[in-house]
């Protein structure tokens, strides 16, 4: 990310002159109070928003320049985990994960094998035939993570994955994310405002405040607000 600025039509400046580089295989937290531009950062990364200035480059692809119909194809490089899960309500857990793979035209056998693998990784083997509405928040979030990693993405973007969960479930999710980071060598960018997580599992931490980057701490730990 280089010199990226973004403001919205309603006059809100979301990010100003941000430069940031994340290496392959890294695990990065992005922290900051509400309105500091965390979500905008994510939206710029996954191509939902276009930067006003500067360029966003992910896996060798200039994200801001993509056409509407190219965006989904670019997103195959990423796995995205949302705070509100965004599972397809009319599909079962198995189908939700399989859907991401069907989209890119994988054949049936590969899909079945990989979905089982993923379900095992997120420990939801017994829920394969359930619909999202029948699952708890933590379980739904694990499905989302499973869907995100099904296609072996280069980058996993997680937007407050623990936002709606209690501490115990959050811990589970974090362990899962770390496992994925180690096992699949996936770059993980995680947005959060949960200080306990950041302090317990120390990773590189980027702090945003008032549209600027205020700290980039390689060894991790939550920044005390002063």
């Amino acid at each position: 990310m280089e010199n990226v600025s973004k403001s919205y039509k309603n006059g809100v400046n979301a990010l100003k002159n941000i430069s940031l580089s994340i290496d392959e295989g890294e695990f990065v937290y992005i922290i900051g109070p509400t309105g500091s531009g965390k979500s905008t950062l994510i939206k710029l990364l996954d191509g939902e928003e276009i930067p006003d200035e500067g360029t966003v480059e992910v896996a060798g692809c200039n994200v801001g320049r993509l056409k509407h119909k190219q965006v989904p194809i670019y997103r195959r490089n990423l796995g995205i985990v949302f705070q509100d899960y965004r599972l397809l309500p009319s599909l079962t857990v198995f189908e939700n994960i399989a859907f991401a793979m069907e989209c890119i035209g994988e054949d049936r056998m590969t899909i079945r094998k990989r979905v089982r693998e993923v379900l095992e990784l997120v420990s939801l083997e017994d829920k394969a035939k359930s619909f999202p509405r029948e699952l708890s928040g933590g379980q739904q979030q694990r499905v989302t993570i499973g869907r995100a990693i099904a296609n072996h993405p280069k980058v996993l973007i997680a937007d407050e994955p623990t936002g709606n969960l209690d501490p115990e479930m959050s811990k589970e999710i974090m362990e899962l994310l770390e496992k994925i980071n180690e096992k699949e060598k996936t770059t993980i960018v995680m947005v959060t405002h949960d200080s306990t997580i950041v302090n317990n599992l120390k990773k590189r931490t980027i702090a945003l405040e008032e549209v600027y980057i205020v700290a980039d701490i390689k060894k991790g730990g939550y920044l005390k607000n002063d």
Partner: protein
């Protein structure tokens, strides 16, 4: 491209799945399509029959030409050939003067008939005549003018202004009916595509999720379009059944005519198939198009 064809069965499966899993939505869309198509069906049946009536009314209009009494049989035959060779003439029927008299008398009451019976045989003052059928009402006058110039034809009569008026009215009815059905068709298209659009509206977040996990626009659209097609087909089933059984029943109870013999109903067999085909086609095409436009709209909702 190979990937596209390989994914077709998958898309069809997805379409069926969401038809079932969004059961309430499917039901409401199908009923809307059904009602609209039933309406369309009723008007197609009416318009189709009215145009048939007008044709049969026009056909019943004939030119009546009397033949010069001095012509012998050979002369009459040659004259008939000449008239038959005229443009727009479909059929020429010879009617001898005896037949003419009988025809004339058939519309009289008993007392007058008795009076005229004395003319039967050699005393018949009428002339031999041709009944000339013309291909279309509007060509009546042209043929009439030509007949006037043919030697051997004493006099011709085709009802003049009255016939012209009937022809004009019939043309007006046909065109008006056509426009009406066309307008109703457009309305049906609009109604059906709107219903499908509002049904898909409830799934716009679903569409954006699909984009989030890397489904291309085409990949998202395809199952929706198949879904729309099936909604169209399902909605067309009932109107088609009503056409097939209802129209046959109607035709048989009315003996193929509407009130008076001049109003011939369309014969059942090819007619119901045409109507069914129109209904099925309208349902399918409109379903696909409605889905296509709706999904397109909601695809642009988020990047």
């Amino acid at each position: 491209m190979i990937k596209f064809f390989r994914s077709i069965p998958n898309h069809v499966k997805t379409a069926f799945q969401s038809l079932i899993r969004h059961g309430a939505m499917t039901f409401s869309s199908v009923s809307a399509v059904m009602i609209t198509l039933t309406l369309l069906m009723v008007f197609i049946l009416i318009a189709g029959n009215i145009s048939n009536f007008t044709v049969s009314i026009e056909k019943s209009l004939r030119i009546h030409s009397t033949i010069d009494g001095s012509l012998n049989e050979e002369g009459i035959e040659e004259l008939q050939r000449r008239v038959e060779n005229l443009d727009h003439v479909v059929k020429v029927t010879f009617s001898s003067k005896d037949e003419e008299l009988e025809n004339y008398m058939s519309s009289m009451d008993e007392a007058s008939k008795k009076l005229y019976e004395t003319y039967e045989g050699d005393g018949n003052p009428l002339l031999n005549a041709f009944q000339i059928e013309v291909d279309a009402g509007e060509n009546m006058e042209v043929v009439y003018q030509k007949l006037q110039n043919i030697e051997g034809i004493q006099d011709s009569d085709y009802g003049g202004d009255t016939a012209n008026l009937i022809v004009k009215t019939m043309d007006g009815l046909r065109i008006g009916g056509g426009i009406f059905v066309a307008a109703l068709g457009v309305l049906a298209v609009f109604l059906i595509s709107n219903t499908i659009k509002s049904a898909i509206y409830s799934r716009k977040s679903e569409i954006s999720i699909m984009r989030n996990v890397g489904a291309t626009n085409g990949y998202i659209k395809f199952p929706f379009m198949i879904e729309g097609m099936f909604i169209g087909i399902l909605g067309a089933i009932l109107p088609i059944l009503i056409t097939c059984f209802g129209y046959r029943y109607l035709y048989e109870t009315m003996n193929g005519i509407f009130l008076i013999p001049m109003f011939q109903l369309q014969t059942v067999e090819p007619f119901i198939w045409y109507v069914s085909l129109i209904l099925l086609g309208t349902g399918m095409i409109v379903g696909v198009m409605g889905s296509f436009f709706a999904v397109n709209k909601y695809l642009k909702w988020k990047r």
